[in-house]
Symmetry: C2
Subunit: 454 residues, 2 copies
């Protein structure tokens, strides 16, 4: 029991401290959780702390445990067989030896499962904050910005992969392209809110586009995940999976919107306690599980559940304590597990290899360029640059993409480090840049106003 | 990921349905969670469902996994080596074979860790509902009832063990005696509340005694756990551990009460978010971890943390959203995991052995008799029977005792089944009996009143 308690305390503390530090410098808390995770993971590895050394390996550690459980070898034997040659293997073998090995594995399994639940929970919350009704209203400009902001990074990503990793498979390249497409609406919304400019045309276009981008990004994820699992890419394959994902997303939302108002009041009348909470998370779990069953990512289901309940709860039960509010304590406990764990798994030593630095630089450049060119899609009369910058942060969605890719085996340690760096940079630059741009806009508008009145 | 989602959905659903059924018949929800767990566990075992077959084995499954990870054998080999001979072993081996084995083990590890966290959380909540100030005021009568209600079941339990299991060690017998001492204040409080008699002398004596019993029970648990780990029982050993437990409990409470009002406002001023929640659970985790470090049960620390914060938050921050309220959604999600899991691990086939039935009957009789004789300790002028019956339910504390005993290896499958049956029976009979007694008291009082006024 003790190692799990320490692990959870460590995660909670690092999330709190990281979030607090970032808040002080006007950055999103997510970034702090990620950076503290990176710091702890690498320092602990350097100090040869066994449990974090194992957790840091992520999926490899779980493959080793699986192998040791299924074959007549110990953890150490499995590690020697499955780890790639390198100085890391000796440390991993040392960490897995003796009584500490199973303990480290059990912490790793627990934290990994918890972080997967955290991701389901996070996308459920994103869904809960996304309004289907408003999404219908965002209009052509937001939709165009979102579409260009998904197509361009994907195309640029494919090009970059063809140049940097000429030997990789099309499915692999499409997956990396997919990582580059996601926009994190939360970070941009926060900056707009902090600046008090949520009602400007630019902000509304960006927020609308980010929401559409969430849905498009999930569709892209669904498709590239299935392609990686299949191993081949064909036109009909892509079309089939896209159709399946679209049908699942819209079908489950339609079914959910029809069922929920019929089920919830009935369950409530029967006298069940905590209906809102249990039904909400239950729906998120059921749809996540269904999504996995038909070969899509769990988070597609979680997001759909959030969308369904946003509509149901805001429209039908306005008088109640909001579900969002009830979930808030759970959010602050569970969600940081994912971000700290992602940080822990960034191996700084991979940057000693020049290729990783190159990869990170190219990915970041492509990620920035791909979204900046989405600005002009907003049309005339608005600041293209503000819109492009507003679409920059990859935040949680990019990380979830990368973690799924790691579990599927398409994202190597080097690529993972490069992706996290890309996420950190795009997230880091957005708040100050956006503040600068929006303030200049304002002064510009004031200047124009003064000229008119003068 | 999918099996964990199904497991959590199953636990959530069974807890909701079980709790709802019990509420309908005027019984505590805990009982429903336990009974639904028993039903699912045994039906799934009968249907040879692999994951529940593994989870049902509890600690044995984890020992098998640990062995397979540390030695050059597979899960199947380890199961054949470690399982006791019997028809259960063949099923367990079948459940652990192939790719399903590691999956079942990972579900078992996750659910087990989650249930341990649930217990920490539960005792933290019990602590949060226990007022140190009120405990000081409960007076001599409550204290005497609690003391007799701890000493008598322990003494009777030791006697019963000497008769039924003459070969067992003193540490083992003391542990079983310890299981019999716990009173669950929650269930009794609920019944009194439902009847609207919380302000009668009987109710106040019982509630006071149940709170004192919580503390005494934890001290007993601390001592017997340490004795089992040591393996020997000596007068000085018992005295030493008792002192250590008392010093830990009172020392940590004193330190906590001194530190908390100095730390929390400072942390809050620094601008951390969710201070109450993170500090609360953080303190519970730190004290639980400290308790394990010095050889006590984790829950002693969790309870101490609850006591500290009850005092701090109710006295110093009355204006705020209560911590109890913030934790309520988390409680309804996490705590049932423990009760459903306890139910899952009750093997009904153990009752095919006459010795288990005998054991369950004797334990239940001793548990009832030991608390009923505590009634007269309340002195004159009150209904001794109502007080004795009010002290009957073992509820969560007895189960936690039993689960710790299982992990320590002093509580066998048969004994565990017998203990759970004892907990179910003592919890089941309390609400109807207490209702009957309190109503008779009332009629009696009314009759006397009518006689006086007439």
């Amino acid at each position: 029991m003790a190692p799990i308690l320490i692990a959870l305390m460590l995660i909670g503390l690092s999330a709190a401290v990281g979030g607090w530090l970032m808040q002080k410098v006007g950055q999103p808390a997510v970034l702090g959780e990620l950076l503290v995770g990176i710091a702890i993971g690498n320092v602990a590895y350097w100090l040869r702390e066994p449990i974090i050394t194992v957790v840091r390996e992520g999926d490899l550690a779980r493959q080793i445990a699986d192998y040791a459980l299924r074959h007549a070898v110990s953890l150490v034997g499995a590690a020697q067989k499955l780890s790639p040659p390198g100085p890391g293997t000796a440390r991993l073998v040392a960490a897995l030896a003796g009584a500490a090995g199973p303990r480290a594995i059990s912490v790793d399994l627990f934290v990994d499962q918890l972080s997967r639940l955290a991701v389901i929970f996070l996308l459920f919350l994103v869904g809960l904050e996304t309004s289907v009704t408003e999404m219908r209203k965002v209009g052509q400009r937001s939709f165009l910005v979102a579409l260009v902001g998904v197509v361009c990074p994907m195309a640029l990503g494919l090009g970059a992969m063809a140049l940097l990793m000429p030997g990789s498979t099309p499915a692999h390249d499409l997956f990396i392209g997919g990582i580059l497409t996601a926009t994190s609406v939360g970070i941009t919304a926060r900056v707009f809110h902090d600046l008090g400019v949520t009602r400007t045309t630019e902000a509304r276009i960006v927020l609308g586009a980010a929401v559409v981008d969430d849905v498009l990004g999930l569709l892209v994820l669904a498709v590239v995940t299935a392609l990686v699992v299949d191993g081949t890419v064909s036109f009909w394959g892509v079309l089939g999976i896209t159709l399946k994902a679209v049908i699942f997303l819209f079908g489950s939302i339609a079914a959910g919107l029809w069922l929920t108002p019929r089920l919830v009041p009935r369950i409530r009348r029967m006298g069940f306690r905590n209906v809102r909470l249990l039904f909400g998370l239950g729906l998120a779990f059921v749809l996540s599980w269904l999504a996995t069953r038909i070969g899509l990512a769990t988070i597609v289901g979680a997001f759909a559940a959030g969308l369904i309940l946003e509509r149901f709860f805001t429209q039908e039960l306005e008088d109640e304590h909001s579900l969002r509010e009830v979930l808030s304590p759970l959010e602050s406990l569970v969600v940081p597990v994912f971000f700290v764990l992602m940080g822990l798994q960034v191996k700084l030593e991979t940057f000693l290899d020049w290729r990783t630095v190159e990869l990170a630089a190219v990915l970041t450049a492509v990620a920035v360029a791909g979204k900046l060119v989405a600005g002009p899609a907003a049309g005339r009369g608005v600041s293209w640059l503000s819109i492009g910058v507003g679409m920059l942060p990859r935040g949680e969605v990019g990380l979830i993409f990368a973690s799924i890719g790691r579990a599927l085996g398409v994202v190597s340690d080097k690529l993972f480090s490069a992706v996290v760096l890309m996420v950190v940079v795009t997230t880091l630059v957005t708040p100050p840049l956006l503040r600068l741009l929006m303030k200049r806009e304002e002064q510009h508008a004031e200047g124009a106003g003064a000229a008119v009145s003068g």
